[in-house]
């Protein structure tokens, strides 16, 4: 559609900058507690149930939830909507894993610690390559979504908007570490929930559901079909992608280490339950595009475009743009900050200290950590200049992370394993998944990657298996 920006660019700048200043102030305030590296990276290992559940939920509500979930619903219909919601199973299943992680690694700091102890330096290196590629990919998709959002809502030129969002998130993550991230996540999760409920109620109030159904039957029948191949594939692919994202990434492991031991499983389970309806609500908004006469020119923007249209019908005028911008900016910031913090922890702990064998004095920790955050951001920024299609970028990483699902499960629960065979399975899973992504269909990468890795991992339990080091004792 021809974008008549709903709010002036100056207002959009003011909102993002104003929220950014608020997050920075709160980051500095909460960051005062981060006097040690453990305080900065793990918030003192004392996070309770409310903050724990809120930070997990807010981190999982990313720009991908608010922008890719509508895209999936618009392109893949009802199954697409449910496919995105299946990513909540990753959070739900991380609850029992968090219980086990805390028991095996009570003093663990990053997910890298686990891979190093279980699979040796080769397995650890494979994990680091995969997780850094994935984390940068995730960050790039959010930066692109942020740039597109500010372009759509505020008419801010793409590169300027994308840069603005990244700079704001970098600043407050630099000041406060995980304390700042978790604190701001709590506030952002409340704003996201309130905003999505409000927009959902307005959509239901201004859309006649039977007429939406009639429109879909007439013009977009495949969106209601129980046998839409691409959508059916998306269900299992997304579920396994979600498993891989949550089970391997340091964003979630650092939260498991940061929460009190008995809190972590409950917090992850609660966050999964709270998260499940969000992509369904966001997806339903997109299904209303046709019936509302919204011409979609970029499916990546269909969610905010329809929401803006509906709030406009409800008489909110330019305030509609303000509401959408605040909600979506919070959804992006809550994930970008988490990813920056968790990825920089990996760079500091696993690369700087682990690979390069550098001893990190307490006084050197903050500058090194800050440098890591800035390096990650600059890489993401330079890749996001392309403005790639966000769902294609995101799903290309599915094969990589899904290949780590079974190695994580086996390493946490099994007593015997052939570690080299598991590592070979990770590599084969990545290769097979990427082949499927490019050669068969976009929504097969994670599915094939997880399947191949699973076969190798199960074989590794029986073929040449050796007892694993007993971490519990």
């Amino acid at each position: 559609m021809i974008l008549a920006s709903s709010i002036p660019a100056s207002t959009a700048w003011a909102i993002v900058t104003g929220l950014g200043v608020l997050w920075v102030i709160l980051g500095v305030w909460w960051g005062r507690k981060a006097k040690t590296s453990e305080g900065f990276m793990l918030a003192g290992r004392n996070v309770g149930i409310s903050l724990g559940a809120a930070t997990a939920m807010a981190t999982w509500v990313t720009s991908n939830t608010t922008m890719v979930a509508p895209l999936l619903a618009y392109e893949k219909g009802v199954w697409g909507m449910l496919a995105y919601a299946s990513a909540s199973f990753g959070l739900l299943l991380f609850a029992p894993l968090a219980f086990r992680i805390r028991r095996l690694l009570p003093r663990g700091v990053t997910a890298g610690d686990f891979f190093r102890l279980r699979y040796g330096r080769v397995g650890w290196a494979v994990f680091l390559i995969i997780t850094l590629v994935y984390s940068i990919t995730w960050l790039v998709t959010m930066a692109i979504a942020g740039g597109k959002l500010l372009e759509t809502i505020g008419g801010i030129e793409y590169v300027q908007g994308m840069s603005l969002i990244l700079v704001v998130c970098v600043l407050y993550t630099l000041f406060g570490g995980l304390y700042a991230v978790i604190g701001t996540d709590f506030i952002q999760s409340l704003i996201i929930l309130a905003g999505i409920v409000f927009i959902g109620v307005e959509v239901l109030d201004h859309v006649d559901v039977p007429s939406v159904h009639a429109h879909l039957v007439k013009e977009q029948p495949a969106l209601l079909s129980v046998m839409m191949p691409a959508a059916l594939l998306a269900i299992f692919n997304n579920m396994l992608f979600g498993f891989g994202e949550v089970m391997h990434n340091n964003v979630w492991w650092s939260r498991a280490f940061a929460m009190r031991e008995k809190v972590a499983p409950k917090a992850f389970f609660l966050s999964g339950v709270l998260w499940f309806p969000i992509p369904i609500a966001a997806g339903f908004v997109a299904l209303c595009a046709g019936p509302l006469g919204v011409n979609v020119t970029d499916p990546g923007k269909v969610g905010p475009e329809v929401a803006e249209h509906v709030l406009g019908l409800a008489g909110f005028g330019q305030f509609a743009g303000v509401i959408i911008l605040v909600v979506l900016f919070c959804s992006m910031a809550s994930s970008i900050d988490s990813l920056l913090a968790a990825t920089s922890d990996l760079l500091v702990r696993d690369i700087y200290e682990g690979v390069f064998k550098q001893h990190l004095d307490p006084e050197k920790f903050r500058p090194v950590s800050a440098t890591a955050i800035i390096v990650v951001s600059v890489i993401a920024w330079s890749l996001a200049l392309s403005g790639w299609n966000i769902d294609l970028v995101l799903f290309s990483a599915g094969a990589l992370v899904a290949s780590l699902v079974w190695p994580v499960i086996a390493g946490l629960f099994w007593k015997r394993l052939n570690a080299p065979l598991v590592i070979a399975g990770i590599i084969a899973g990545c290769a097979g998944g990427l082949w499927a992504y490019f050669e068969i269909q976009t929504y097969t990468g994670a599915l094939v990657g997880a399947a191949v890795s699973m076969v190798f991992t199960i074989a590794a339990r029986w073929v040449g298996a050796k007892p694993l080091r007993d971490l519990e004792s």
Binding site: M1, I2, Y74, E75, K76, G77, F89, L93, P96, L97, F99, R100, R103, L216, E219, Q220, P221, A222, L223, L224, S225, M228, P229, A230, L232, L233, I235, F236, N237, M239, L240, F243, N295, V296, T297, D298, P299, V405, W406, I409, L412, F413, W414, I440, Q441, T444, L447, V448, A450, A451, M454
Partner: protein, 129 residues
């Protein structure tokens, strides 16, 4: 310049043609772009190549759209300036989903891996709690 202004618009798609030059979508999504219009345009879609069953899919100032949810089959698209410009050459796009054999193989694999993953986590948790 006058001749250009009166020419019918052209409608294209980003879908890459196959070896035979056919445009095929495997997921029912078709992006369309039209150029050469001077003002509002109308986009029509038809299953019949003579456009006997044509229906209007868009009318307005935009010069592109993304149509989704199209069932398998052959679709014809054309664009004109409204109210009375000449129609563009039709663009023909096939919607052809993945064959059922491959689909069910992948779905079966996905279901098996997903159930096995969930089961192994719950079993491992139960055994080690």
């Amino acid at each position: 310049m006058l001749a250009t202004a009166n020419a019918a618009p052209t409608v294209t798609s980003d879908i890459k043609p196959d070896a035979e030059g056919k445009l095929t979508s495997d997921d029912g999504t078709i992006d369309l772009v039209w150029t050469g219009g001077h003002g509002p345009c109308e986009l029509q879609q038809a299953r019949d190549e003579s456009f006997a069953d044509a229906r209007s899919r868009y009318e307005g100032e935009d010069t592109e759209t993304v149509l989704t949810g199209l069932a398998d089959g052959v679709y014809h698209f054309r664009v004109r300036e409204v109210p009375s410009g000449g129609w563009s050459e039709p663009l023909v796009v096939n919607v052809e989903s993945m064959n059922r054999g491959t689909l069910f193989l992948l779905l079966g694999t996905g279901a098996f891996v997903a159930v096995s993953t969930i089961g192994s986590i719950l079993y491992g948790y139960h055994k080690n709690r």
